[in-house]
Point group: C2
């Protein structure tokens, strides 16, 4: 670190010293910068995707030879390969474990029921569920609270530049994998896709930073990747791999990462994530081949397509269009209702979870008992039906899967509701999607199943355990679609299984609001290309309808958690405000040669992350802007350690640095560490235009310069928080009225009712 010039105070002349001792402008810019991660409240950092141009960077870049560039490129691809390999292994093990644990549970229970020991069966079923659910929630609550929930909102926020602590730690990874297996095996209505996305992102992040620092697993040759930009790319690839492994949908995974997760995208990244998911597809394919020989226990011999509904010829004509449109419209309504209710339930759960860990565990305990009761109790309501004569499948079945479950029915009869509800989610979906089973299900059974799934999926998501949303939404949507198909009946050319597929698409569209990626994921799940035009229609209609009411489920969760997510588009009122209306001076400045004590003081008292560095040349009358520096960088200068760690974003806290009195009195030359060419905007620029720069280039802070020179060379600093609607509207309350220019249906009375409820709980 030879370039750090430390001089004692006396070497500087007096008037400069004065201006150093008195910070030019005082109170720091402090919007609320905290959010709920998992179930804890944490401070939020921003990531920086800007090229940080200072002296050290330039030296670093120029010193890279051809060999190092080659090594860097090779390493990137190797990391992608490793991500694909590990994620597919985890995904396979996850499937294997779930199918075996849940399978044994169902086999044991079914065998007891065959002997008419119903009470014992219920006891075994509910206790094993309870143990699994409690295990999942306890490891989550005690070891890694950040592993709770789906993880998709956290990863999405990370890719937008919001660095919530602990979401990518090794602890979180382990808990997410183990917790997801036990939560899904416990018959809770939770999915595995969301946790797989988080797992993939986690693996990518850990690999990128060369292992976990805490556990001493670091590799030095990965130091090139210790910057936010490369980590972001790896995390994007990781989340693509997650979906690819969860749904055996490699192309769908890439598109999911592109459409839903990523905030920045380059075609090189598209290619790299495609490579990653190709590795996943091939490795998974190889493992599934291994299982054909029957070595995988109850895992079975399912191929690469999870719910195959291929049929040679699908014919549909104009008659089917109204039914499909209605399916889409109602699916959109249901999807937005689902999002609305989930949002409210999460708010209530958060109030409960805030109290103590015991409350969290208790909640998980309650939901598990409730679920077990429903799953075991509801099939008794269904009438037993005689087995069809012409079916190729066994009827009735006693074991785990199969369309015709025996449950409590006499010989040669089956319980259709049990086939759906007393089953793993995957098998329920397979049964709902199956063709040639138009007469299997009764109206009442499908309706009961739909209502149960709809509410259970809302109630189960918020518990403190890894819990995905995809599978619950698919199973709910499939039952809804099947029900619509039964209502339409013989008037349609489509069989009920295809209606179930369309129903799943409509509810997914209504809840998740994706288009291309959902379309491809459904295609890869069901292997039915001829249905594509109808799936596209359903997705478009349901998304359009649902967008009229509220945002996508992940956006709602991100908002509820308080992540400062930057949207791509500017709100209409941002065009009417200029940057100068929002930026809040007075701000903290550093001089080119600054006193150490002063820097430490500023860093300890502000949460702010970038500081303009100004110079006062002897001949000029006004100070000029030299550049800006990040808080973390400045702190690392003191820790005087390895400079390459700069971008890692955690650790190296200013509080941990111990300096002697003498050191505090010294001066430091900030020029070598300062980004000498930051992006700047003029204060008269509209907020919308500044947002475009901030968002497209991926900045952590943006310097605002004055229109007229002669004053201070910097007016202020814009951060992510200054673009948040809450912040702007608190500064300019008159805009609240004009804020709702985006067309959306609103129900003030309903809103009041719910807010009233949650407020009273709070009180």
């Amino acid at each position: 670190m030879s370039s750090i010039i430390v001089t004692s105070a006396s070497e500087l002349n007096a008037d400069q010293e004065d201006s150093v001792f008195v910070p030019l402008l005082s109170p720091p810019n402090s919007t609320s910068q905290v959010a709920i991660v998992g179930s804890n409240v944490c401070p939020i950092e921003s990531l920086d995707y800007e090229i940080f141009e200072n002296e050290l960077f330039k030296q670093d870049w120029r010193s890279r030879g051809k060999m190092q560039i080659f090594q860097y490129t090779l390493m990137k691809w190797l990391l992608c390969f490793l991500i694909g390999l590990i994620v597919s292994l985890v995904g396979f093990c996850n499937n294997l474990a779930v199918e075996n644990i849940a399978g044994i549970k169902f086999v044991v229970t079914s065998n007891m029921m065959l002997e008419s020991r119903y009470g014992m069966a219920f006891l075994v079923f509910s206790v094993s569920n309870l143990i699994l659910a409690l295990f999942a929630s306890m490891i989550t609550a005690f070891i890694a609270p950040a592993a709770a929930g789906s993880g998709i909102p956290e990863v999405k926020a990370y890719l937008n530049g919001v660095d919530a602590p602990d979401i990518f730690s090794l602890r979180t990874l382990v808990v997410k994998i183990v917790g997801s297996i036990s939560a899904v095996s416990s018959s809770l209505l939770v999915g595995k896709a969301g946790p797989m996305v988080h797992t993939g992102a986690c693996i990518a992040s850990l690999l990128g930073q060369g292992g976990s620092k805490k556990f001493g697993l670091t590799w030095n040759w990965l130091r090139f990747f210790k910057n936010d930009r490369d980590r972001r790319d790896l995390v994007t690839c990781g989340s693509a791999a997650g979906i690819a492994a969860a749904f055996h949908a490699p192309v769908g995974g890439v598109l999911f990462a592109l459409e839903e997760m990523a905030s920045w995208w380059r075609s090189a990244l598209l290619w790299r994530s495609f490579f990653t998911t190709a590795v996943v597809a091939i490795v998974l394919r190889a493992f599934i081949d291994l299982c054909y020989s029957g070595k995988c226990g109850l895992f079975g011999t399912g191929g690469l397509i999870m719910y195959d509904v291929y049929s040679e010829t699908i014919s549909y004509d104009l008659m089917d269009v109204p039914a499909v449109l209605a399916l889409g419209v109602i699916g959109g309504l249901l999807g937005s209702l689902h999002n609305f209710l989930l949002d409210k339930v999460l708010k209530i759960y958060n109030l409960i979870n805030e109290k103590s860990v015991a409350y969290k565990i208790c909640l998980a305990w309650l939901i598990s008992i409730f679920t077990s009761c429903l799953l075991f109790g509801l099939p008794w309501l269904a009438k037993c039906q005689p087995c069809p004569a012409d079916t190729s499948e066994a009827c009735p079945t006693i074991g785990r899967s199969g369309n015709y479950k025996k449950f409590q029915c006499p010989a040669d009869q089956f319980n259709d509701l049990a086939s759906l509800i007393f089953n793993t989610n995957d098998d329920a979906i397979r049964n709902l999607f199956s063709k040639g089973t138009n007469d299997e299900f009764q109206y009442s059974s499908v309706l009961i199943f739909f209502v149960t799934c709809f509410f259970l999926s809302i109630l189960s998501y918020g518990i403190v355990a890894p819990a995905g949303l995809f599978v619950p939404v698919i199973v709910t949507g499939a039952s809804y679609g099947r029900f619509v198909g039964m209502l339409v009946g013989s008037k349609s050319n489509l069989n009920h299984g295809l209606y179930a597929v369309l129903g799943a698409a409509s509810l997914l569209g209504g809840s998740m609001r994706m288009t291309v990626s959902l379309c491809v994921i459904i295609l890869e799940l069901t292997n039915n290309l001829l249905l594509l035009p109808l799936i596209m229609v359903v997705l478009l209609v349901s998304k359009t309808v649902a967008d009229g009411f509220n945002g996508s489920i992940y956006d709602l969760i991100m908002k509820a958690k308080g992540f400062p997510y930057l949207e791509t588009h500017a709100e209409p009122y941002m065009r009417q405000l200029s940057v100068g209306d929002v930026v809040r001076g007075p701000l903290q400045l550093f001089h080119g040669i600054e006193k150490v004590g002063n820097i430490v003081h500023v860093l300890r008292t502000t949460r702010h992350n970038g500081f303009p560095v100004i110079d006062e040349p002897p001949l000029s009358e006004s100070p000029i802007l030299f550049g800006d520096t990040g808080g973390i960088d400045a702190s690392i200068q003191f820790s005087a350690g390895d400079f390459a760690k700069r971008g890692s974003g955690n650790g190296d806290k200013i509080e941990d640095i111990v300096l002697t009195e003498e050191e505090m009195e010294m001066f430091i030359d900030l020029h070598p560490f300062t980004n000498a060419s930051p992006y700047t905007v003029v204060e008269t620029m509209s907020l919308a235009k500044a947002l475009m720069l901030f968002r497209e280039v991926g900045l952590r802070h943006l310097l605002v310069i004055p229109k007229l020179s002669g004053r201070s060379p910097v007016v202020g600093i814009l951060t992510r928080h200054d673009f948040m609607a809450e912040n702007i509207l608190s500064l300019h309350p008159l805009l609240v009225r004009s804020r709702w220019k985006r067309l959306r249906f609103r129900f003030p009375s309903l809103r009041k009712l719910f807010w009233g409820t949650s407020a009273s709980i709070k009180a």
Copy 2:
């Protein structure tokens, strides 16, 4: 236009007048801003995607009520719907026309051959081909030269911000549609996908600007869309619709637009193009249904999937992997060779085409004759084979399609080479992809077919007619893959048809260098999801191998045409240069109050498009930057017409404006028209970082401000051309050595050989 303040010269004080008369700095920044469009050399304009913030814009924005925003949103969707509808209609008609024209031709010729009138058959075949080819090339050469070629490079460059004239005119559209039909029907080895993309983009652009101005078809209610940003979005949707209509691949179309075409992408745009292609899919599906009843002549009853190769179970194991990898590697080599040769042939053709229109037509004439001779002559080389006993198809067939063509063979025998070569491209692909035909083709036939296609596709592209590249590459790749499959023979579990699919994928990957979009397009073409992991491997391998040699075919064509395409990533040497090293002062400035004559003079003598506007406030000693203005805007101020036309980008030339002497002496207040908050960069910023801003935000020009104030408030202006490698390297010749830091194999001797050839032709 009440805000234009025009004052006579005498009202201004003397010293201001002086500075007005003498332009501060003189010669304009003029890099070569021309490119070859179609086969003509044209000046190139840049598009501007920046929000242009001046007084008028603000008034315009504030005056928009809820109703107008609603109208705007509705119109956008309606336009997308119309684009989808019209493109699918055009695509359907295109298919219908090609199948019927080419079909009749083959039926007539085959019937003559059945009567052993071989000479007559050749005459009819070659003359009809010649007439069709000449028609296509003549309408292209005389009516709309911009319609020549694929059109994908032009649209890609447009979406990057390069506005080549005439590419989206009504004339181009009509010629593209008609020319494509006749070129494809003429048995030239040219595709229809590229022209369909151009057609789609053209339709979108024309709809967006409310019809063709020249033909008086304009609608006033579309005035909101007369800006570059909205037009860009529509053109993206249009190109997605083009692929969707050409390949019946709606999802592939969206991904193609995303991966290959678009330089900027927002999730809203993803949704909108998804909607457009969904419309295409549904309309196409409806039309294909109509044709089931046999009303479409020879169009037949092909379903939505163009080359269906579905098979219930595809089993492949480790044994197949080396063969598939080898297929990918060789495919990559072939693809890069294809690109290399095509690039060279295009350069030679350009030299011929430059001479006169007669040469162009002559070239098309030669290629057509040559193609006819090959297509009719080569099958005579193949040995007739006896018809297989166990086939379900008719053998031999006389008509148009079918696997077993009779050609010159005796009864009960067929000519396998004729089945491939004496056929439409679609049927050849279908035959190559077909399963259960492992014994049909001889080694020699497939090899001859492959070599013919490889060279014909290279020779045919450059003629002056609409000509796509997709189908030629698919047919070449399929024959190559089939040949590899035959070589591997019974050692593999995959049938030869699947090898053909993989071969097509590998050559597409090696030539076009796309990943996800190609993968989905192939999937939608062939309906075989189980092959997905292998297709992914092949695409990855072939793209990786080919990228080691040269760029994608579209990039090469764009480069050959001279489009100043801005890449996403910065070249390594751009990090070592600062903006100040590249920007060329002295530049043209305007004052806030400027003399009309001065402005007109500057606009007439420069090709430059943005001018900084500076103010000299009485109290300040140094001038300050007020903003920047675009040349077109300034010119329109004089035409004093409809201000909303600003963004349309063509017409309104400065040369057309007639002003009196008196008007020339007047002064104009430029403030209301000036973008008061342009994006700026500091002169010390690295070029790489400035490029990121320029590219991500989509600018036309970028103002460079000095590091130290006190001097002129602007150092210069960066335009698209300043970021081009040619420009930078001409300024800094020492960087040429370091330029090749990107790893790529090079063959100086081969390069020399070819450059030598083309240079001697030039001489």
